[in-house]
């Protein structure tokens, strides 16, 4: 409705980050930075062998070193209360057992925590750690995926659970593949890759009383960390407080509570002082999970006109000897394209390594690298444009669940992306485009990511001065959660975003899921929406009950609120403010807490985000070096809450995808079962010079079926498919198909 008297409903669709200034001025406090009195410093000592047992620990020289408070190991710790009693002799934990820190003498992987030195200062702890002598008895270890591939099997976890999505899956006609007119088959490999956020994992553990624990811990879910620590140390949940207000990136490394966190809490208990533990960069390779080494075989059959008639997708993922880490690797293939005959298989390979974990776009980034590379190979075999092949096999409904999509604008993404990129200028033949002696390649890939929404609570409070505080125990690992939530609250309550404060990262706040699975905006955003709406309604009722109130005869649908002033209709000249209402009722504040969760719509619609990426690379025919020159990325993630932070998130995903495609690889020397790339000099992530202009486009239409705000998650889909788009561009540039990431010089010369 046009009304010039009123300020616009959404004055700042690209609101700057509410905590941006704190972050760039160094005023934001990260986990390791809390000033705590009487703080002791810990240094972790880790195993140098991959499998075997500790035979001796000589801690005497370290214990005698200046400032040392304790050298903690399985030899001298009373242990974590929830661990079962140690067996004599020690027995290897059965598969399915989370790693127990300082539990017994057994070694499961190289880099396993074996002792912790606690001292007055960090320097003293480091020096003492170098004095601890540990002897091992080694056993034969297996860390080589390729050499052990034949041992891959259906996960025990899946065998027990007949409804697991990782069960063998077959739909349609098993003879469709053999009888296909055109066929392709190939094997794709991604190496182990590590999250390596710039901020290392860190914890300060403080026992406030014998049964009361506070931790400042880098993680992605204060509530799950609270539950985990309460369980491990047998404490009432409410006696554990977890604070993680600022996180310097995580990408999945902070979803679980890892052994080092438990070790620091244990140490603080033992030395009866607050203890700080920060992981060094090299420990970040063995302490907080990784994207698992995965091998995938894809076979595709199609008609000569490019209609998919059969897809078979088999994946084998690496996991540890003690836990089964499953990820979505093969699942996207069932839903992505309209193909009647689809089979998937998923196997796990247990190796003597630490357990992998979810890393941005877990499983889907891996699986879509294979699927979208395979589709490019098929397009080449068919002599069909890769985009056209995707259009011909577009799934108008979910072929796996036989349900309508809640919303899907993938075709619009293809259209926008191809136009913005100039896809029509692509010459079909590989090696056919050159500039300045460089081979030029255009590649594209689709992306998708499932919609996740978890029950979430938020509390919204209107203060007497008209300012708003909204709280939820959600997280911000970088996407700008606080900013987006501030906007949602401001829009509903009709106040300026500057009037809103959003609190997060504190386990004492209302229950919310951790930040993972691109679920924060859909889940917590909905809770903030609901809580603010409830608060607004309550305030309107209070307002209407004031004597002679202009609101008493107003229709709720016609009420307009701007800058904290409530107008009965958009044409009204008179208004009443929130502060007037609270003042009249003599209330210091009014608050509402709401829980928001999915309903029956989950069974009526199939819910995904979709998107696509277009990439131009240049490859030097002389050196084999690949440089990405241009990326256009498009996504349909429903309503965009904040265009600026959403764009940043998409750019970050593309950067991660470029790293995945061209450089990230954790290389292990299998003779030792130990990584040889444990620093930033050898584990390459993109630097600025590797990143070209990245253009981001959103469909920005609300998905009305998923939640009250119409918004889906963006974090994962931003990376899913990027590696395939790069690999496809490299093929187009060079005529060489690299199926083993990363695509490095040695694979192209």
């Amino acid at each position: 409705m046009a009304n010039t008297q009123l300020p616009p409903a959404d004055p700042e669709p690209s609101l700057n980050r509410v905590d941006g200034r704190l972050k760039v001025t160094g005023a934001a406090t990260y986990s390791a930075e809390y000033p705590i009195d009487n703080l002791a410093h810990a240094v972790l000592i880790t195993s140098t062998i991959a499998k075997g047992r500790i035979t001796t620990i000589n801690a005497k020289p370290a214990e005698a070193a200046p400032g040392v408070l304790a050298v903690i190991s399985h030899r001298n710790t009373p242990g974590v209360p929830a661990y079962p009693p140690v067996k004599q002799p020690a027995e290897r934990a059965p598969v399915g057992t989370a790693f127990r820190v300082f539990y017994d003498e057994l070694i499961y992987f190289s880099g396993q925590p074996v002792a912790l030195v606690v001292a007055q200062t960090l320097e003293q702890a480091q020096q003492a750690a170098s004095l601890v002598e540990i002897d091992y008895q080694t056993e034969t270890h297996q860390t080589d995926f390729v050499a052990n591939r034949s041992k891959a099997a259906i996960a025990a976890n899946v065998q027990r659970n007949k409804t697991s999505p990782f069960q063998d899956y077959d739909r349609g006609d098993p003879d469709a593949m053999p009888s296909a007119e055109v066929k392709m088959e190939a094997t794709y490999t991604i190496p182990t890759q590590h999250h390596q956020p710039l901020e290392p994992h860190a914890i300060i553990a403080v026992w406030e009383a014998d049964d009361k624990l506070t931790v400042y811990d880098k993680n992605q879910g204060v509530k799950s960390a609270q539950g985990n620590l309460a369980q491990a140390f047998k404490l009432p949940r409410e006696n554990v407080k977890v604070n993680a207000q600022f996180i310097g990136g995580a990408f999945g490394s902070g979803i679980r509570v890892w052994p080092h966190t438990v070790a620091a809490v244990l140490a603080a208990k033992q030395v009866r002082r607050p203890v700080k533990l920060v992981l060094g960069r090299e420990l970040m390779f063995t302490s907080v999970g990784y994207r698992p080494f995965t091998e995938q075989k894809i076979a595709m059959g199609a008609t000569k006109t490019g209609i998919l008639t059969a897809i078979r997708h088999e994946g084998i993922g690496q996991t540890s000897a003690y836990e089964e880490h499953l990820e979505r690797t093969i699942l996207a293939t069932r839903a992505m394209y309209a193909c009647l005959n689809v089979s998937t298989r998923y196997r796990l390979l247990n190796l003597d390594v630490n357990t992998p974990t979810w890393m941005r776009g877990p499983g889907d980034a891996t699986g879509m690298f294979a699927l979208e590379s395979a589709l490019d190979e098929l397009a080449f075999a068919l002599q069909l444009d890769p985009l056209e092949l995707r259009l011909r096999n577009h799934a108008d409904a979910d072929p796996e669940r036989n349900l309508p999509w809640s919303a899907k604008s993938l075709k619009e993404c293809y259209r926008m992306g191809s136009e913005q990129f100039g896809w029509k200028n692509r010459k079909p033949e590989p090696r056919s485009m050159q500039v300045d002696g460089m081979l030029v390649g255009y590649g594209m890939a689709s992306s998708l990511y499932g919609f996740h929404r978890h029950p979430s609570k938020a509390k919204a409070m209107m203060q007497a001065d008209g300012s708003v505080v909204v709280q939820s125990a959600t997280m911000d690992i970088g996407p700008g959660t606080g900013t987006a939530m501030t906007q949602i609250a401001a829009r509903i309550l009709g106040v300026s975003p500057q009037k809103v404060r959003f609190d997060l990262g504190d386990s004492s706040l209302p229950d919310a899921p951790g930040q993972n699975g691109s679920a924060t905006i859909p889940s917590v955003g909905s809770a903030v929406h609901d809580a603010c709406k409830a608060l607004k309604n309550k305030l309107l009722i209070l307002g209407a009950s004031m004597p002679g109130s202009i609101l008493s005869s107003a229709w709720p649908d016609e009420i307009v609120i701007r800058n904290g002033r409530i107008y009965p209709t958009a044409e009204s000249r008179s208004s009443v403010s929130y502060t007037d209402i609270l003042k009249y009722h003599k209330l210091p504040q009014v608050e509402m807490t709401e829980e928001s969760k999915s309903g029956p719509e989950r069974d009526q619609y199939s819910m995904y985000s979709f998107g696509c990426h277009f990439v131009e690379v240049q490859v030097s025919p002389v050196t084999g070096e690949v440089r990405v020159k241009r990326v256009v990325t498009c996504a349909d993630v429903g309503k965009i809450i904040n265009y600026k932070t959403a764009r940043s998130q998409s750019i970050g995903g593309v950067v991660g995808g470029i790293g995945m495609a061209l450089m990230e690889e954790s290389v292990m020397d299998h003779r030792y079962g130990r990584y040889v790339t444990s620093d930033f000099a050898s584990y390459h992530i993109p630097v600025h010079a590797d990143i070209p202009q990245i253009e981001v486009f959103f469909v920005d239409q609300p998905d009305v079926h998923v939640n009250p705000i119409g918004a889906k998650g963006l974090g994962e889909i931003a990376i899913v498919g990027v590696a395939a788009a790069v690999a496809n561009a490299v093929f187009h540039a060079t005529g060489k198909r690299v199926r083993e990431l990363p695509i490095t010089v040695d694979k192209l010369v």
Partner: protein, 332 residues
């Protein structure tokens, strides 16, 4: 990190005396490598002799030479007018190395004394003959994608080492036939760049021919015969801040298309900057052309040997030599 004593001598002589009198003392300048090594427990000096304030910070024009003090920062060299005008190869090599932040800390002398980035050297859980002589070479039968193809043992022995020298600047200095000036307990001496770094020769713990207590005071570069036809080409895993897989410093003195003098050195291929003397000889007197460059590259690659993961260097290196020469000669 092991506790250490920190001293700031006021003269060069005092600095040298301090290091000579204590075998566990070490000079420190920019510290961009030494501090890392200390954190990893690879270097554990009892005493750090800080030389940063000593008067080795000048770039001076001398008769027939440009003299660059050992404490001149990498970034200062790369932005110095005379260096830009007369020795562009140095500038290219410096810009190809490290990052802006590191170049602002790292000194010329320190750059020459960088230790290898071989992962087996850096992780004390692995054997490494350079770190612990006689413990074995982890890279030899391990992951050796980054490792040497020249000056490597035909028959590995318990003292072998196949690590490469990481410096880009040293490769350019080598091609420019720079001289390293050194002051030590027995006075001053000059070491030609070609003799400054060593091949492992069963003593890989020794990177250079410096004796204990000797301090680099300057690097001298003969006046440019190569202000124009030069190029430093570095192949790496990402566009910046990565060590060379293979790099080539090419410098040509060309008169009417005929090569009067050629200088070539490679990085990322040996335990030291690898001068391509035979290829240089071959190029001398020839008319610059891709064919000739290709022949020179063939000559240059003679004697190269690959290991399990670095055979690609045998294919990439000759291409890089040809490309660097073409760009230097203005043919590309």
């Amino acid at each position: 990190m092991k506790p250490f004593e920190y001293v700031r001598p006021s003269t060069l002589q005092e600095a040298i005396d301090l290091v000579v009198s204590n075998p566990k003392a070490q000079f420190i300048a920019g510290g961009t490598n030494l501090i890392d090594l200390m954190k990893h427990g690879i270097a554990a000096p009892e005493k750090l002799v800080d030389i940063n304030h000593l008067p080795l910070k000048k770039i001076e024009k001398r008769d027939g030479f440009l003299r660059i003090g050992a404490l001149v920062l990498n970034s200062e060299v790369a932005s110095h007018k005379r260096v830009l005008d007369k020795h562009p190869l140095l500038v290219q090599a410096l810009h190809a190395g490290a990052s802006g932040q590191l170049r602002n800390m790292a000194t010329v002398g320190g750059n020459l004394l960088q230790r290898t980035r071989c992962p087996y050297f850096y992780d004390r859980a692995f054997p490494c003959n350079k770190r612990v002589p006689g413990s074995g070479c982890g890279a030899l039968g391990g992951i050796n994608r980054m490792h040497a193809i020249f000056g490597v043992p035909v028959k590995p022995n318990p003292r072998s080492c196949i690590a490469v020298h990481p410096s880009d600047l040293s490769v350019a200095l080598s091609a420019l036939e720079a001289t390293v000036w050194v002051l030590g307990p027995r006075g001053e001496r000059q070491i030609p760049m070609a003799d400054f770094h060593r091949l492992p020769n069963n003593r890989p713990e020794q990177d250079t021919t410096l004796s204990n207590g000797e301090l680099i005071t300057a690097v001298e570069i003969p006046d440019a015969v190569f202000p124009k036809h030069v190029h430093y080409l570095k192949v790496r895993d990402r566009a910046s801040y990565a060590f060379a897989l293979v790099s080539v410093a090419a410098a040509l003195d060309i008169d009417q298309n005929r090569i009067k003098t050629a200088r070539l050195a490679m990085g990322g291929v040996a335990h030291k900057p690898w001068r391509l003397f035979e290829a240089e000889k071959m190029l001398t007197g020839q008319v610059a052309s891709e064919t000739v460059f290709r022949q020179a590259a063939e000559v240059a690659m003679q004697g190269a040997r690959a290991f399990e993961h670095n055979a690609y260097k045998l294919s990439v290196a000759p291409n890089v030599i040809v490309q660097a020469l073409k760009i230097a000669a203005g043919l590309s």
